[in-house]
Amino acid sequence: MKLHEYQAKQVFAEVGIPTPGSTLATTVDEVVEAASDLGYPVAVKAQVHVGGRGKAGGIKLAENEDEAREAAEDILGMDLKGYTVDKVLVEEAVDFTNELYVGVTMDRGEGQPVVMVSEKGGVNIEEVAEEDPDAIAREHVDPAFGLHPYQARKVVYDAGIPREVAGDVASILTTLYDLYEDRDGSDVEINPLMVTSDDEVIAADAVMNIDEDALFRQPELAEMEEEAAEDDLEAKANEYGFDYVRLDGNVGIIGNGAGLVMTTLDLVDYYGGEPANFLDIGGGAKAERVANALDMVFSDENVDSVVFNIFGGITRGDEVAKGINTALEQFDEIPKPVVVRLAGTNAEEGREILNDELVTVEETLEGAVQRAVEYADEEATEVDQ
């Protein structure tokens, strides 16, 4: 789960990481008012979960009211890599002499957290990591002990951070690690960490990605997740508790188990179709959950057909079949054709229960996917005509 920049900065402020003064705004007038309160120059920054906002035109500097108005008009409502910008952060522009990077993440290969510091901040740090890996100093952390102060100092010196600010950067890194640990971060980063002409360090951006599996013990952050949802479908997925990813195609895909759902996506592609989404109903799904899954996929107007792929282990085929019937019986007319493939635990019972006036039942995975792709093609053609 990703927090928006403004949310991450709220969390930073709580633990004393310095950030520029800022105000969230949703209208042009609010932007202008916030800017005059903060004092020019200001940065107007789109709040969407998209990397490279600056390059894409989602961050603009304003020196005066006219520029602030213009920036607000440009950014609010703009489409940024598929997401509509409906809120911006208006922020004091920091006069800086240097831009650094600090971050904490999990090194999955080592199974340990790692802290990272670089004097090459302010740019795409992934590019730095790829082109000049030595420019990022790293130190692994024993999760049982946390980040020792000597480690924080070591990594800061290794990165070649100027002596004048080394102590402050080490201190911010220590705070950032504690935040990562206390708030179950998966990635917590500051890029850039700006150094001012007075040798102060200030977090000009804030990235906080939270481990979704740990939200049960992070109630405050879980509330922020609701706010952070980018569109209605994602909000709905959060509400239902599904793993859901929206994609560009028109074949809706529902299944149980991430590996099998991904395989279903791959097969749709293999047979010439395009997946509209990834939806994993998870293990042991009961009828109501199945109905919610169908509701989700039908809510996506791009969907022309749906393939339901269940291989029961912990999940039982008869339960799934009941859920599908219940969900579809609510409709006078089924919105889009649904193909169901059931295998594994209680699959035969399930196939007998399924109302084949409502759905197409297929025995094999390959057969089901091919049929769903055919239906999607037919639907798409009808719409064109």
């Binding site: 590996g259 991904m262 395989t263 791959d266 912990i314 995975l365």
Partner: protein, 289 residues
Amino acid sequence: MSILVDDDTRVVVQGITGGEGKFHAEQMIDYGTNVVAGAVPGKGGQEVAGVPVYDTVHDAVDEEDADASVIFVPPAFAADAIFEALDTDLDLAVAITEGIPTQDMAKVNKRLQETDTRLQGPNCPGIITPGEAKLGILPGNIFSEGKVGLVSRSGTLTYQVVDSLTQRGIGQTTAIGIGGDPIIGTDFIDALELFEADEDTEAVVMCGEIGGEDEEEAAEYIAHNMDTPVAGFIAGRTAPPGKRMGHAGAIVSGSGTGTAESKIDALNDAGVPVGDTPEEVADNIEDLL
């Protein structure tokens, strides 16, 4: 023959009084698994699924001589349950629980280095030696005894591939689901090493997915250390970069590693045929046998 579990394995079920724990303890017993005890704090003295329940794993090991555990404990308490299993010198602990916070698993992983217990999972379907024992939630009826070993990061994908094999009359020695989380115990290389050493395993299926570099490392291992032929499958070819596809581990970084393409290339370079569909994996195994 088999790897890790057989009909001598004496199993304790952690969390046996919960809904999932009880249901699957019964399923395991029906399959013929030698389930000897349950362990649930505060529930000692009860009997569930016909076996005695103890307050601690230590008691279950002392009283019933258990040597393996299966963990059906909710995510908030699961790391603690794994620590408890690691503290008793069991040979094997299989963690079924899905959704354990990654930082908890980092702590478990650190402790794991200091013990002799093998951890399998978490977020895995378990392990089965057809006809002898199953530890976990795998549907026993789709498996059959035979010569093919199977290791997979995904539960339901395992079932899909096994179903294709069984329907062609190709049985399995042992199938092991290692789980799709970023931090796991037993990994591909550990499982491949065991299958390589098992005389009865004549070919191995390895099912991977996007995210991490475990498949790439396994490909290196296969190229240099294995005589037993391996057939592969990789899920997530169509997954967009940067999106988490269900499993915590199934996310592509966007920097070129961890993609389906990089994994398929690495496996092909190691001489492992990678099927486009689960049926093609079964075709490839038929060719390798």
